[in-house]
Symmetry: C2
Subunit: 420 residues, 2 copies
């Protein structure tokens, strides 16, 4: 008798996480002798805790196929981290209770580092309670900070967006610099690792092309060196474009964006870096500036997704189901690079114990000695990830993204009170 599968999307969404969902669902549909229905958690793991399940079998093949070209999380995601067993055993037990009630034998969890940790714990608890469950982690994070995989699905598209955008802005700035704006700053998401900022560096293929300056969270911000670098660029080329990671830190260890802007409650919110840098440029160098803050636009930009990233995102979803069919559990699907050029990759696997709560930062050798750009080694690593375009279909001049019906599965259990 085939058992059902549970699939959920976790944490910040990406332009291609729905391609992983399509990979899971379409592949599961091919194994109907082994997998019954795929139930998706509405708003990620919350859907499992509250028994708010979506019956994906109610969606047409065309709708599931359209997930491949639709950004964000079609079933809803959440930022909700399960605590350790000791602190919150009730939640883990509830998950198993819901899985039991709906005969769920497969747990596919699509997320980043925190989710890998949850996936591992669920897998361990199921074992402890003697509940048969195969738990597979489907990697996803625009931050590209998961270990034991060549890259993280979602990152290649953010990387492409960043490189394309800063190239375009650099062309714009170069046109205007004679009489107007000289410095343009693009602030990008990426709290702890500089991968997304680094990707902007791909746009500078020749001497003098923008961006000339990249600010990484891995390199402590040095105001004097930054200003000297910008000043030198403007003297040399007439203009300077900067890609700055929101996670840029001052020597104190604080986020630079926090040093300037705290709200009435003393909380700081990231995303205020560009104006701080721009003000410095204006005050100290007396140069006219413009800045952009990419924020959600970059991670939602399915219209300029990387074809490589899209293919990998679909492939990890597909592989997760094949792993489960093959009897695996407690692993993350990974991407293994066989060569840089041509880029050859294949699907691999990594034990969740070695994935959970490990954050992969940029290696120092990927950053130039002066700390302001990427090295050739970094370029060789990043460049394959942005290759290829995969445009969504358009209707009325706009991308035709799908919204699913998201039909709920009838509940069988009593309501569950969430902690806090």
């Amino acid at each position: 008798m085939p058992r059902n599968a549970f699939y959920a999307q976790s944490g910040g969404v990406t332009a291609v996480i729905n391609a992983s969902a399509a990979g899971v669902i379409e592949t599961a549909r091919k194994y109907e002798d082994r997998i019954g229905k795929v139930y998706a958690g509405r708003n990620g793991i919350l859907g499992a805790l509250t028994e708010d399940l979506i019956d994906t079998s109610q969606e047409s093949p065309a709708a599931i196929a359209a997930l491949r070209h639709t950004p964000a999380g079609a079933f809803g995601s959440c930022r909700y981290k399960l605590k350790g067993f000791e602190d919150n055993q009730a939640e883990y037990e509830r998950l198993i209770e819901v899985f039991k009630a709906h005969d769920i034998g497969y747990f596919f969890y699509n997320g980043g580092g925190d989710s890998a940790d949850t996936c591992l714990k669920v897998s361990q608890l199921a074992g402890k309670l003697g509940y048969p469950l195969q738990a597979i982690h489907v990697p996803k994070t625009m931050d590209n900070d998961l270990p034991l995989t060549d890259c993280c699905p979602g990152f290649g598209s953010v990387a492409k967006y960043t490189a394309v955008s800063i190239r375009e802005a650099s062309f714009d700035l170069a046109s205007m610099a004679k009489t107007s704006t000289r410095v343009f700053i693009l602030e990008v998401m990426g709290r702890h690792a500089g991968w997304t900022a680094a990707a902007g560096g791909l746009a500078a293929e020749k001497e003098g092309e923008g961006p000339q300056v990249i600010l990484f969270p891995e390199i402590v911000f040095d105001e004097a060196k930054f200003l000297a670098k910008v000043d030198d660029c403007v003297r040399r080329y007439g203009w300077c474009t900067v890609v700055a990671s929101e996670g840029l830190r001052a020597a104190s260890g604080e986020f630079l964006s926090e040093t300037g802007s705290k709200d009435a409650f003393g909380h700081s919110q990231l995303g205020g870096l560009a104006p701080i840098l721009a003000q410095l440029v204006k005050d100290k160098l007396k140069l006219k500036y413009h800045y952009a803050v990419a924020d959600y636009l970059m991670r939602a930009a399915r219209h300029i997704a990387s074809k490589t990233d899209l293919e990998q995102s679909y492939a990890v979803g597909k592989a997760a189901v094949e792993f489960a069919i093959a009897g695996k559990s407690g692993v993350m699907v990974s991407i293994v690079r066989k060569s840089d050029s041509p880029y050859v990759w294949e699907i691999g696997e990594a034990p969740l114990e070695q994935v959970a709560n490990v954050e992969r930062k940029m290696p120092r050798e990927y950053i130039t000695d002066d700390g302001f750009h990427i090295t050739e080694a970094c370029r060789a690593y990043l460049s394959p990830l942005i290759q290829g375009e995969d445009y969504p279909p358009y209707r009325n001049g706009l991308p035709a993204y799908v919204t699913l019906r998201n039909v709920p599965v009838p509940k069988k259990l009593k309501p569950f009170e969430l902690k806090k």
Copy 2:
């Protein structure tokens, strides 16, 4: 004996202004019996004043054709407004002197309202001095605020970028809203007219789709009404996306956000609106927010240009040359709408006297009664302008934009001292 042509790009550049350049140059090359060389001004009209001319005949047909898919100003633009005759007759006389020295009989000026004014004055002075010159204005402005034309080349692409971006961000936000961010604000350029913000409204095709709120410069900002509207959306849909024009004004008439710096035209530099709105949402509604500032990214985004806009941009460049060949002068090439659906347009002309220094704002009937969205009439006007995609070629995963050789024409005159 064919006389030479002068072409210059003026003011803020767009994703498709180079398509107009391609239209001018490729068409001029077809009339070699009438037009000698096309000289481009390096950095716009400054190039004429300083006799810094670029010989476009040195560029290959392939390079000129590549302008069609390259954003920004290939010859450099400038923000430099010529004053009236009385204040600065020397500059106008210098232009004529340079034109005379290089046997320039055609003046093609590619810009917005200020440039139309310059084009008119140059045309008038040439007449007064008995210098034979045909002056044709080639319209361009992402602000869409020129009169007597259906739309302005450059706007359709900004409109498409804005609608695509806010649709994508809305999908992202809808995924996250259950446990995290509820409000997303996209700040767009557009100082006095709300056209670019309005275009975001095209993304909302059905009830509940984002953006649910648009803030126009034409509607005085009312904090209480804005917060009530956002609050209502969040209660109704769980989330709310907002497109806000940088030119939003307080009841006092001041821009809601002023940085204090002014550009060469005396306009103040904007760009700090989104954080102000976000802070309001956080303080008053206690909702988590994210915001993006599009800035140059929107007007440089050739990767998602509107095909309609691109075709019009090329067509106005081509028509400018044909107008000159037909003996016209002192006119702007315009776009005439024959029908909305299907969108049918043709080339027309408008006398520069009626174009210069007239700013076309959004008609009130294009904005809903509550002031927060666009009407069906506005949708019928805007929708045709974003139709179609025209992707640039890619190399190494990035758009293959062209950089011209920009070979200077040997100078014949003494240097000229610019005012101020």
